[in-house]
Symmetry: C2
């Protein structure tokens, strides 16, 4: 079955944006440091991203080889809604609390239910993975048991402030399995598998 | 010159304790998960720590080969003050806001100034490194430009809540250099060098 994989670039202190992120400033103040290993010709168009090194290129290629995109509403809006096409015209499912009056642009559609969004995305992706975007969405899919893997690119910098990937979580432990490390001076690429409760090997 | 090196076991979501840490519960509720790769015969005595695997053993040996210990007051108190001897009778400098009425036990002494504490510890360690303990102390030494390296053992778990290593920091970026990765299924051992402002290679 298609896996839902979160792709994020995160500072060592856990931030995925600098302070004051918002529309037109998706990475917050100074947050572009996190994407230094990527060269974005145009922030609004993910297909214009180029990797600065071979390892980043490999991870980026994996992200862009996914067959569907799941994203939170905030990430979608802050990224200019990608003009309705994240990559290759694959379906984009935007998790939102309430369905906006306007239709979602291009290949995007609004979904208000986490499990429905996960099912739609897995189905659309077929035998490919689903690319998950956004911290709040990641926490929602994790809580619903629908997050399968985390591809976390750990950037060697402390941002000090900004939006955290993991924040406001319940105190329950989520056990992970480190399945891959790709080392590069500019970014430490990690990939973790979420150990689902029914498959947990080590009792808490 | 002797380097000041922070040694910490941290969850992937950035916590170094579970919730409600305090005296007698130094790792907070559930925080002992972070030290699962270490077998502590007696939490109050660091010399009773044994590593569960060769990689953890190597990192632990490096920590215990240091020539002085720097610690924050909270970590010192929560750890039962190590009965005045962290390891091998090396000097322990305890950073505290105000000097307690009672003398520090054993090889420990109170210090109220960050730079004085750093200088005393470096001098005491001679040609060996200084072991730094505690999140609040780490932030104080980092802010003072006295933190040289971070030996961070990233544990594959999300704790969700607890005390963060990096919290309440100023928004200034601190650039790091990844100098070593030791991979093990149970813990990802990273070592970062702090790029000092005057040696910063990449302008922000």
């Amino acid at each position: 079955m298609s896996r839902i994989v979160l792709y994020m670039w995160m500072s060592l202190d856990g931030f995925i944006t600098g302070p004051d992120d918002g529309p037109g400033l998706g990475l917050g103040r100074g947050g572009e440091r996190l994407h230094q290993a990527l060269a974005l010709d145009d922030g609004a168009d993910p297909t214009s991203i180029r990797a600065a090194d071979e390892v980043s290129a490999q991870v980026l290629a994996e992200a862009m080889d996914t067959g569907a995109v799941l994203t939170g509403r905030r990430t979608f809006d802050h990224g200019g809604r990608w003009n309705g096409d994240h990559h290759d015209g694959v379906p984009i499912f935007v998790l939102t609390r309430s369905t906006p009056a306007e239709p979602a642009p291009g290949h995007a559609r609004w979904v208000t239910d986490v499990r429905e969004a996960a099912a739609l995305a897995r189905n659309a992706a077929g035998d490919r993975d689903v690319l998950l975007h956004g911290a709040e969405a990641a926490r929602a899919f994790l809580a619903a048991g629908e997050l399968d893997e985390l591809s976390l690119q750990i950037v060697p910098v402390l941002l000090g402030q900004g939006r955290r990937l993991f924040d406001g979580m319940p105190p329950e432990h989520v056990e992970l399995e480190l399945v891959r490390v790709l080392e590069h001076p500019e970014v430490l690429h990690t990939r973790y598998r979420v150990r689902k409760a029914d498959a947990r090997e080590v009792p808490l």
